[in-house]
């Protein structure tokens, strides 16, 4: 059973997605437990795979029994296994959260929403686990198509935002396909390990150089790396709460994973970092992304839009961390992938709760919420502390390693960018806490006057609150236990430079 776990992780959500319309036709209320069941099995399988990788090393799974490079293979090493657990766990939490939110926002489309939801998760899982570049393209397209649909059914203006995403996302995927093609033309292989074996003698070739450039630009479009981030704010703000809760933590981080794979597994670090000045370019692009994201976040009055620009800045952290190109900084960048999934999940969960209760997600909707929704605001405080980087939350540790790596490499501008971003995050969240603490709305005062505490509290439903609390607990848990995670998993995921 555990030998088949790698394939089950991807196939179970896929088969369940194919059967969801049937399940929904039988009875609509069966869809919710069905989705949770399939994602639970997938999460258990990814935990099993992580356990196997920690104890036995890299897993190779040959699909159809054909050895690579003639067949497709799944390769699970430490980085993969961590990403698999992150993706399936996040999907499970979003599925638990989704019930009330969907009933309010898109009540007539629930069955097909869950179908596309499971297909999206299948796409992400397939991208993360595969060891074949063309297979990655196929699953990238599954994930992208599902994403376009999930975003387009949102609030007013969502179809246009999704259309812009379609155009830019297709450009990104096509650049990736061109890069795969160029590499195939000069090597004849599509398997990542095989390519890494054949390519070193071709490093001087122009074809390989152009292929590498197109890989990076295509992935940068999917990753929303500044200045190719223009699709992200509109798309994630106007999408339904559940859709942005699934897409925001995962899409950009899966793209960063693909970039790490391409840069360090397919092309050896010798090529990516020493032969080409790619690391320098990535460092500066990351720095600009951090500044741009932080400054644009300050200018927003819509809470979800502000979170989108925080995502742009976080992508800058990770790309800059890889650009610093020493072991400590890359360790920090990979730890930050894990932290950022959890933190973004928390932020968008709170945004979804606000949307559910207030029907809007502007900053002004936070007024008086510390009294009305104390539990939600407590979770928000935890996530905010993590984004700023306060110990013992997880955000502190990844920032610590990134700053340490940058100091060791002498990249002082990156250190300044990280500290500047923390400062801006403090301003952003304290602004929200100020609005939340004082009621700026007269009707709040009138209703709250003279009533008991329990009558005033208008808290979010449990199915939305429990995942938010699990995330907040995870933030503290990962922060406290970051050393075992680093030593057992992330240390082996860092490429040898």
């Amino acid at each position: 059973m555990t030998e088949q776990a790698p394939i089950l992780i991807v196939v179970i959500p896929l088969m369940c997605a194919l059967m969801t319309p049937l399940v929904g036709w039988l009875r609509k209320s069966f869809c919710y437990p069905w989705v949770i069941l399939s994602l639970t099995i997938s999460t258990i399988c990814s935990l099993l795979v992580l356990n196997t990788v920690i104890h036995q090393g890299v897993i190779h799974y040959y699909l159809g029994g054909w050895l690579p490079p003639w067949g497709i293979e799944y390769v699970v090493d430490h980085l993969n296994a961590l990403m698999l657990v992150l993706v399936s766990g996040t999907a499970l939490l979003v599925a638990v959260y989704s019930k009330r939110s969907l009933e309010q926002e898109i009540p007539d489309k629930i069955v097909y929403f869950y179908t596309v939801f499971l297909l999206q998760v299948t796409g992400f899982l397939g991208i993360v686990i595969t060891g074949d570049v063309f297979n990655l393209y196929v699953f990238l397209e599954i994930a992208s198509l599902a994403g376009y649909a999930l975003i387009a059914i949102g609030e007013d203006g969502a179809p246009l935002a999704s259309f812009r995403y379609v155009v830019l996302g297709t450009v990104g995927a096509c650049f990736y396909l061109l890069a795969v093609g160029y590499l195939y033309i000069v090597t004849g292989s599509l398997n990542m390990a095989d390519l890494s074996r054949i390519l070193p003698e071709l490093y001087g070739s122009r074809v390989v150089l152009v292929a590498f450039a197109f890989f990076l630009v295509g992935i940068a479009l999917k990753m929303a790396l500044f200045p190719l981030h223009v699709w992200l704010p509109d798309a994630y703000t106007k999408a339904p709460s559940t859709a942005s809760l699934l897409l925001a933590p995962l899409m950009t981080k899966v793209a960063i994973y693909v970039m790490i794979r391409v840069m360090f597994t397919v092309f050896k670090p010798y090529f990516s970092i020493e032969l080409l000045p790619v690391a320098q370019i990535m460092l500066w692009v990351g720095i600009i992304a951090i500044f741009a994201g932080a400054i644009m976040a300050l200018a927003q009055i819509d809470f979800k839009r502000m979170l989108c620009y925080i995502i742009v800045a976080e992508v800058g952290y990770m790309v800059g961390g890889i650009g610093v190109a020493n072991a400590v900084a890359i360790k920090g960048a990979i730890l930050h992938i894990m932290n950022d999934v959890v933190m973004t999940l928390g932020l968008f969960a709170v945004a979804g709760i606000i949307s559910y209760k207030m029907r809007h997600h502007n900053l002004s909707d936070f007024s008086g919420l510390f009294k009305k929704m104390p539990f939600t605001m407590a979770a928000l405080v935890t996530v905010a502390l993590s984004i700023v980087g306060v110990p013992p939350t997880c955000g502190f540790f990844s920032k610590w390693y990134l700053i340490q790596g940058a100091i060791m490499a002498g990249s002082w501008v990156f250190v300044v960018a990280l500290l500047f971003s923390s400062l801006i995050n403090i301003i952003l969240f304290f602004r929200i806490f100020e609005i939340g603490y004082y009621s700026f709305n007269e009707t709040d005062e009138a209703h709250g006057h003279g009533h008991e505490e329990s009558a005033v509290i208008n808290e979010a439903p449990l199915s939305m609150l429990i995942p938010t609390y699990i995330v907040a607990a995870l933030i503290i848990f990962i922060g406290l236990y970051n050393q075992p995670i680093l030593v057992n998993i992330i240390q082996f995921a860092v490429p040898k430079l």
């Binding site: 699909l63 067949g71 097909y112 596309v116 198509l145 160029y182 090597t187 004849g188 070739s205």
Partner: protein
């Protein structure tokens, strides 16, 4: 804006053409792509898959998982179109 798009397009095209300068010539039977993975597909297709059509044997057997992914893409597009376009008939009155 149009000018910027034009510049980006010309740049991309120039980079792509620059990349083709080191590629094997068109129709070269000794290109790396013809020598590495595909000879086994050509020589062993009848023996291993009992299919004389090599494209079929690669599509359905050696790389059958990509075909599963492709059918999933079609399914995703179909369900997405239902999700996006279906409107509930408004009850009259």
């Amino acid at each position: 804006m149009r000018f910027l798009s034009f510049i980006v397009t010309v740049l991309t095209g120039a980079v792509l053409i620059y990349g083709t300068l080191d590629m094997p010539d068109w129709g070269d039977p000794n290109s790396p792509a013809s020598r590495h993975v595909s000879p086994r597909y050509i020589t062993k297709t009848e023996v291993e898959t009992a299919t004389p059509n090599m494209v079929t044997s690669v599509l359905a057997d050696y790389r059958g998982y990509d075909t599963l992914g492709e059918t999933t893409v079609i399914f995703t597009a179909g369900v997405s179109c239902i999700l996006l376009l279906r409107r509930r008939k408004k009850t009259t009155g």
